[in-house]
């Protein structure tokens, strides 16, 4: 039944086979996508026509690699800007919120906590339309009553940032809170007794302790923002982010340049994931 008990051979091998199949199921689409990025063919499919790097470095006119593809490069740049803004904003606010909910006590704390958690159980599509409708109504109101045009409330860069920020902050807060809960507050008291002021205590003691989870939270925030489609799709203007442009290419069919983009994204995401896990394991020791 479990590893400390004697197990029959068929039981173990059955379990192993099931898990193996599961991992094949898990990795098959990713591996195929990555392999076909190097296929020397105009379509992302077999037969294999030889190895090529054209979908990365091809200058055209027939094959345009990702590094020369202006539309996709621009989308990647936009996505980067959005993701960096979102992860900075949500990490700062999320860490503060974690302090608020873990260390302070105040009226309506339960209700506020519930409100903060709510974006986790609301579908992204609904968040997207709510933010669009709200900002549009507010924008119209300001324009009609005061005659001012507030650019932030129009679909575009900042609305995307705020839209993603609204639910990513929740996730950062949860990640940071989990570690803050284990923090021994007598350390803070000791520092205060030794003459540190409140700011110094937080900067040198608490934040040092929280550092792994803050970095982890920022990494998660970056990835979530970079790949978000459901919420972002309602908030874009003329400069779409990468997932939206990729979606249109995937739907209408395109050259293996999408495979090249996928290859880069899969590899970099895996590196971040493994680095994150490795870092956390080292912390534990």
């Amino acid at each position: 039944m479990i590893r400390t008990l004697p197990n029959s051979k068929s039981y173990l091998s059955g379990f192993r086979l099931f898990t193996l199949l599961y991992f094949v199921f898990l990795f098959a689409p990713l591996v195929v996508t990555m392999v076909l990025a190097f296929n020397n063919s105009m379509f992302p499919s077999l037969p294999w026509k030889g190895f090529t790097l054209d979908w990365f470095f091809g200058e055209g006119p027939e094959k345009i690699g990702i590094f020369y593809d202006k539309m996709n490069l621009r989308a990647i740049a936009t996505s980067f800007k959005v993701a960096i803004s979102v992860s900075i904003l949500s990490t700062i606010i999320g860490t503060m919120a974690a302090f608020l909910f873990e260390q302070e006590d105040f009226k309506f704390k339960g209700a506020l906590y519930f409100l903060m958690i709510a974006p986790l159980v609301i579908p992204g599509v609904i968040l997207g339309i709510s933010i669009l409708l709200f900002s549009n109504t507010a924008g119209l109101f300001f324009e009609n009553t005061f005659g001012i045009d507030i650019k932030i409330l129009r679909p575009g860069f900042w609305l995307i940032v705020f839209g993603q920020f609204s639910f990513i902050t929740t996730i950062v807060t949860i990640v940071v809170s989990a570690r803050l809960r284990k923090f021994d507050r007598t350390l803070e008291e000791a520092a205060s007794n030794l003459g540190a002021n409140r700011f110094e205590v937080i900067w040198f003691i608490t934040l040092q302790y929280l550092k792994p989870s803050i970095i982890g939270g920022a990494a998660i925030a970056f990835l979530l923002s970079f790949e978000n489609f459901n919420t972002t799709t309602f908030l874009i203007s003329s400069r779409p982010t990468l997932p939206i442009i990729l979606y249109h290419q995937v739907r209408d069919g395109s050259t293996p340049v999408i495979n090249a983009i996928s290859f880069i994204l899969i590899v970099s995401a895996s590196i971040i994931a493994v680095a994150n896990l490795y870092y956390r394991k080292k912390e534990k020791k």
Binding site: M1, T4, L30, V121, P123, V125, I129, P243, A269
Partner: protein, 247 residues
């Protein structure tokens, strides 16, 4: 906003939902398929989580956990795209099957309900496995050993010890998976056929294509009510506390 018509307050937008069968049929289908997907994910996730936490060698346990996580750091879109390359008529799987002589002609395996459900199961799997692993890790091995020594069968151990103990993890996993599936847009759109309309697609169409924002808002509100209702019923049925489940 969903109550707004041409002249002030109206219920017209909700009326359209009831009178047009395509709207409420999609709604019911979406709800039903979401529940189905959640159940399938649960059935696959339980043995995998159990195997990784309790059965497998401790040395490869860490490696398996990392492997489990890695695919989910890449975006949903890329994972769906991978499946499209694999399954479509000119896809990799067809290429091999025809090559082996199993199929005479390539067969379109994309764009139907079964593929769509498989895609949804695939994209939401992790969010079930991780909470269950979290709970199972704290399950004391001696409980299972004791039951085993007393002669309990495997099914009895599962039913009496493992499942009741993992219930909080199962519930939080189910809620997250259910919400993700209900609110997903990419997977049903790209992998489903022309008859596999998802309710989020209706919302998207109303807002982006028809510019009927009031109708879209009404649909969004309905989806929110539906999801909250189903989660509430599920929690009541299993007697779990929302706060404990969410943590």
């Amino acid at each position: 906003m969903s109550f707004q018509g041409r002249s002030g307050f109206t219920l017209e937008n909700y009326g359209a939902f009831l009178t047009e069968p395509i709207y409420w049929l999609t709604f019911v289908r979406t709800a039903w398929y979401s529940i189905l997907v959640t159940c399938i994910v649960l059935i696959i996730a339980l043995p995998i989580a159990f195997f990784i936490t309790k059965v497998v060698n401790l040395r490869i346990q860490g490696a398996l956990l990392v492997l489990l996580l890695v695919p989910f750091w890449t975006s949903e879109l890329i994972r769906v795209y991978g499946w499209m390359i694999l399954l479509r008529e000119s896809g990799v799987l067809n290429h091999f099957l025809v090559g082996l002589g199993l199929f005479k002609q390539p067969k379109e395996m994309l764009y139907n309900d079964i593929t769509m459900i498989m895609g949804l199961v695939y994209t939401s799997m992790l969010f079930m496995i991780i909470p269950i692993i979290g709970v199972m890790e704290s399950l004391d091995d001696s409980l299972i050993e004791a039951a085993y020594d007393l002669g309990a069968k495997k099914i009895a151990i599962w039913r009496e010890i493992i499942i009741p103990y993992s219930m909080p993890g199962i519930m939080s996993g189910s809620i997250i998976v259910f919400m993700l599936v209900l609110g997903s847009y990419l997977t049903p759109k790209l992998m489903g056929g022309k008859y596999s309309l998802w309710f989020t697609e209706q919302i998207y169409n109303q807002i982006i294509i028809y510019f009927n924002w009031n109708q879209g808002a009404a649909f969004g509100f309905l989806l929110l009510v539906l999801s909250s209702l189903i989660i509430w019923v599920a929690l009541k049925l299993t007697k779990q506390d929302f706060r404990k489940v969410i943590k």
